[in-house]
Amino acid sequence: MYKIAAMGDRNSIYGLASLGISIFPTDDSAEAVKTLRRISESGYAVIFITESLASLIQTEIEKYKDEPLPAIIPIPGVSGNTGMGMKQVSRFVERAVGSDIVN
């Protein structure tokens, strides 16, 4: 049985708590890295993370990219959509094909 987590600044992820998702509010990169490591080892299969926080701990997130679990999914926070999520999808295509051919 796996759980779902959300990380990011408090205002962005607070609403998700009411859906039964565990929230880990933080906006400090060092703390976020620690939290991410802890929760990825304790049965969380999906971790939603706000784009602003994800951009701070990019290298840490990269470590999980070839693991089957957890799936770390960037979502836009209250501060707005930075387009990072879409860029990430384009990066997958670039990695697989060589250039972004899907628009």
């Binding site: 049985m1 796996y2 759980k3 779902i4 205002n11 962005s12 607070y14 609403g15 998700l16 708590a17 009411s18 859906l19 039964g20 998702i21 299969a45 999906v46 939603f48 990219k65 070839d66 089957p68 679990l69 799936a71 999914i73 979502i75 836009p76 926070g77 209250v78 707005g80 959509n81 999520g85 879409m86 990430q88 999808v89 997958f92 295509v93 990695r95 697989a96 094909v97 051919i101 899907v102």
Partner: protein
């Protein structure tokens, strides 16, 4: 392309020929694998982009309501309202094998049977916008989970495609040409050896014949001088 460092013997030649057939078959299989992976990957990526667009829209919608709720309610009231979630979501995970890539399939389970049981507060002291924010998030939740599934699948598949593509290229441009060159080299060397031994034999034969002829001439002369 460099020729491998091997002895030009018949045994090496047979070994190399066998390796070359294996390499060719492996190359063909891997190429098929790559093509199929690519086809599925592109389908998934299209879905991924569409899902992401819708999820991002849904979340910004929820965030809009949330900001209004935050501005009309006090922070502490909001905290109290959301402090104790009534709902708990858990995931069942299955694995789907696509061309030997293990892709996760998420199946969300809620603690309470009623999926509308998402409001962890009484409606009396909270703003309507909070309800709307929570509702918007709850509506987008199945899509978010599907997004997580698809995005992780894309990530894993892109890694696998990269690996397979490298293998295909290594076989196509390095291994197979190298085997072919080496086989050619050994064949030429063996042919050359054969030719040189033939010429040697011919030379020896002609020398022996010459020798025999000289002896015969000498013998004839001797017989003639005695008569």
């Amino acid at each position: 392309m460099a020729v491998m460092n091997v002895n030009p013997t018949r045994m090496e030649l047979t070994n190399l020929k066998r390796k070359l057939t294996t390499a060719r078959r492996g190359h063909k299989l891997l190429k098929d694998k790559r093509d199929e992976l690519m086809r599925r990957f592109l389908e998934l990526v299209r879905e991924n982009k569409e899902l992401r667009r819708r999820v991002e829209e849904g979340i910004s919608e929820a965030n809009r309501h949330m900001s209004v709720a935050r501005s009309v309610m006090s922070d502490s009231a909001l905290d109290v309202a959301l402090m104790m979630p009534t709902q708990e979501m858990s995931l069942e995970i299955e694995e789907k094998n696509v061309m030997s890539v293990m892709l996760p399939v998420f199946d969300a389970k809620l603690k309470s049977a009623d999926e509308n049981d998402i409001y962890s507060y009484g409606f009396a002291f909270t703003s309507m916008d909070l309800d709307q924010a929570v509702k918007a998030l709850s509506d987008i939740m199945p899509l978010m989970l599907r997004l997580a599934e698809v995005e992780k699948s894309c990530q894993l598949m892109s890694a696998e495609i990269e690996k397979t593509r490298r293998r295909v290229n290594a076989l196509e441009h390095v291994m197979i040409p190298r085997y072919e060159e080496t086989i050619k080299y050994i064949t030429m060397k063996l042919d050359e050896n054969e030719r040189s031994s033939t010429t040697r034999l011919m030379k020896v034969k002609s020398m022996m014949l010459e020798d025999a002829r000289q002896k015969a001439i000498a013998h004839d002369r001797e017989v003639a001088s005695r008569q």
